[in-house]
């Protein structure tokens, strides 16, 4: 590992100089050959395994050759400056990028060993297995119950109302929301507070029993108190699900995740144990970013 870091140094300082001032849109186009991510890209028996992933928006490349394994039952956080491609990468994992027409993805993305990239792969079961929670809480304008029941309903997971009730109950319990809403399941989900809404969205995602949950800045619309609650929830969910979380807040990454991946200008610079990243990162770019030395 020491060797790797050593090799990286020169490149990284070059990259630092290329960092444009605050303009997220500008991306260095230099196609560095032999770029290599620092840290533990591979894990044993990964749940998700991404290899040499490249993403383009029309002609603009947003992700460069990213390889990353995600282990089962871990929380992996993705951090990096604005526009570095965190969201793009995350959305590759359940093909939400399909909804953006100009977006093109290459490389291999395996979920439990199956490639999810093929044209003929059906996104419906894929997304049932890889759930997603968004930046702004987006409950459907329906009752709390219907919000949670929606997933099981469309996938036909329940034979009857009793099963469905139980499933809704379980999901809300897991999302730590049951106590707060049990008396008003029939009230609209949009009437909840921001933090509760976000937990409702998590409950909704859990209800289809996914294997992986992707979260794109799930707390950035929330105040510190609601944020702390969600973070706590994430830590509990980890025991059952694999969670990938994108966040702008380094503190948050440090708090909730076991591993942290640092993206920079579309490249995965470093990925390692969170403790390691935040007390002693190997790559200078990572260090600069987390200590606030950017630019």
């Amino acid at each position: 590992m020491a060797g790797t870091v050593h090799d990286m140094m020169d490149e990284s300082s070059a990259a630092t100089e290329a960092v444009p001032d605050e303009r997220p849109g500008v991306m260095a186009v230099e196609e560095e050959k032999g770029f290599q991510t620092v840290g533990q890209v591979e894990v044993e028996s990964p749940r998700i395994s991404v290899r040499n992933c490249n993403v383009w928006y029309a002609d603009k490349q947003a992700i460069f050759d990213v390889s990353l394994d995600i282990a089962a039952n871990e929380v992996i956080a993705m951090i990096g400056p604005s526009g570095c491609g965190k969201s793009t990468f995350l959305r590759c994992l359940n093909r939400m990028n399909d909804t953006i027409e100009i977006c093109r993805v290459s490389g291999q993305i395996l979920l439990d060993g199956e490639d999810i990239q093929g044209k003929d792969v059906d996104v419906v079961p894929l997304r049932a297995r890889v759930g997603m929670v968004f930046q702004k809480p987006n409950p459907f304008p329906k009752s709390i119950y219907d919000n949670v029941a929606y997933g099981p309903k469309i996938h036909g997971l329940c034979r009857n109302k009793t099963e469905l009730d139980e499933m809704v109950h379980q999901s809300l319990v897991k999302a730590g929301l049951w106590e707060e809403v049990k008396d008003r399941l029939d009230q609209p989900g949009t009437g909840l507070s921001g933090g509760q809404q976000q937990r409702l969205c998590i409950a909704r995602a859990i209800a289809v029993d996914p294997e992986v949950i992707l979260m794109d800045e799930p707390c950035s619309a929330l105040d510190p108190i609601a944020t702390a609650r969600i973070e706590d929830l994430i830590d509990e969910l980890r025991h059952k699900y694999t969670i990938c979380i994108v966040t702008h807040s380094m503190q948050q990454a440090a708090r909730v995740s076991q591993r942290t991946a640092y993206f920079h200008l579309g490249r995965l610079i470093e990925v390692d144990q969170t403790d390691q990243i935040f007390t002693n990162p190997a790559h200078k770019l990572t260090e600069d970013y987390i200590t606030g030395r950017f630019g």
């Binding site: 059906d122 419906v124 079961p125 049932a128 297995r129 469309i154 996938h155 036909g156 997971l157 289809v208 029993d209 294997e211 059952k240």
Partner: protein, 429 residues
């Protein structure tokens, strides 16, 4: 756990085929619906253009006319007035009879002169009056043919029908064929349609009177509706305190936007004509009524446009110490202007196509002259269409379609302008 998740995913897979089938059906329904709408549009356009295209040409007869001094007097002695009152009909009749020497019976003579439009007289007169030096010469002129001839030439009259069932006798057919064979009867560009007013004779009827009437009315509409509409919108959106009064105004405006246009006609009739005593059939009344009708449209569009200016811009200006008026005039209104303009143009376009209220205020009158001012009696394009559509003559059908084409061209131009404005000033925050 993996056990259970496997189960879940199996259930999901089991239902997939059915769900994808539903998906395809839903999609097809959408395509079908859209196609119906667009097909209808195409159908409408094809029909109208198919009908109306031919109106821009009409059958004309080339006659050799001797501008005999016996009828017109010598150019030196006759006054302009006398020249105007001369019997041009005779000149034409003579020319025709010269051409068809075989015709002698009275009935036949009448029929022969009927081949040429009664309006041809004025055509000839105008020609002579403008160039008196022609008098005494024999000239070769194209004169407008009668509408029945026109229809025949354009193929709208079925020759195979029994003579009793068509309006052109076999005899006339023969003449016409002779004229055609001689190259003396042909379809030529119909200038009359574009430059003259209405007429009872289809072949002499033109669109200019109606178009001018529409234009005058629109000018009135614009001068009234645009500033008032924008001002009202600005007041309601930017200044009005929330009170009963503003609520009332707001409800009113929304309601007015959806009040049937004919009711505005009733308003014009009762208030403007019967109460205020404005002249009937005048563009100014039409303009006012249309202005009242478009006002809510403009106000609503302007308000929407004002609303779409992010509040942060207002806050920014106010936070800088701009007064409300300054914030509005410096920032909000300029930013909203494209939307306001688009709304105004679309409102105008609607006003241009509106008919019902004009019927109520008498702009449906038969007006031959091209209006010269705001209070002259006149009609308007859509009303003209309505009038012609109601006329029994077959030739008016194509005139109607042609008038529709003219109207549509105007509307399309206005819409294009609106689209252009929207594109040009489109701003994203």
């Amino acid at each position: 756990m993996s056990d259970k998740s496997n189960k879940t995913i199996d259930i999901v897979h089991a239902g997939l085929a059915r769900r994808h089938r539903k998906e395809r059906w839903f999609r097809r329904m959408g395509v079908a619906a859209l196609s119906v709408g667009i097909l209808f549009l195409l159908f409408l356009f094809v029909t109208i253009f198919g009908n109306g295209w031919s109106a821009f040409q009409h059958a004309q007869v080339r006659l050799q006319i001797e501008l005999s001094t016996s009828v017109l007097g010598s150019p030196e002695t006759t006054s302009n007035d006398e020249l105007r009152r001369a019997d041009y009909g005779r000149l034409i009749r003579d020319a025709l009879l010269d051409y068809f020497p075989e015709v002698d019976s009275r009935r036949e003579r009448r029929a022969v002169s009927g081949l040429v439009s009664s309006g041809a007289v004025y055509q000839l007169r105008d020609m002579v009056v403008s160039r008196p030096q022609l008098i005494g010469e024999v000239i070769d002129v194209w004169l407008v043919a009668d509408d029945e001839v026109d229809m025949l030439v354009k193929g709208y009259i079925d020759r195979t029908l029994d003579e009793s069932e068509r309006r052109i006798s076999n005899e006339e057919l023969g003449w016409i064929d002779k004229l055609v064979a001689d190259g003396r009867l042909d379809l030529r560009l119909n200038r009359t349609f574009l430059v003259s007013g209405d007429s009872r004779d289809p072949e002499m009827a033109g669109i200019l009177g109606a178009a001018t009437g529409s234009l005058l009315a629109l000018v009135v509409t614009m001068v009234l509706a645009f500033p008032i509409g924008v001002a009202a919108a600005v007041y309601l959106e930017e200044f009005a305190p929330r009170s009963r009064l503003t609520d009332l105004i707001e409800v009113n405006i929304n309601n007015l936007a959806a009040v049937p246009s004919i009711v505005f006609g009733l308003l014009g009739l009762a208030v403007l004509i019967n109460f205020v005593g404005m002249p009937r059939s005048a563009p100014v009344v039409g303009g006012v009524v249309l202005a009242l009708m478009t006002l809510p449209t403009i106000i609503i569009a302007s308000r929407a446009s004002l609303q779409s200016v992010p509040p942060s811009i207002r806050e920014a200006a106010l936070g800088m110490g701009a007064s409300r008026t300054q914030a509005v005039t410096h920032h909000v209104l300029p930013l909203a202007m494209p939307g306001v303009l688009t709304g105004a143009i679309l409102g105008m376009a609607r006003a241009l196509g509106e008919t019902a209220p004009l019927l109520m205020i008498g702009m449906v009158a038969f007006v031959v002259d091209i209006p010269g001012g705001f209070s002259d009696p006149s009609t308007a394009l859509p009303v003209q269409i309505f009038l012609w559509a109601d006329s029994p003559e077959r030739a008016f059908v194509e005139k109607t379609s042609a008038a529709i084409m003219v109207l549509l061209v105007f509307l399309l131009l206005m819409n294009l302008l609106a689209v252009y404005l929207r594109r040009k000033f489109e701003r994203r925050w």
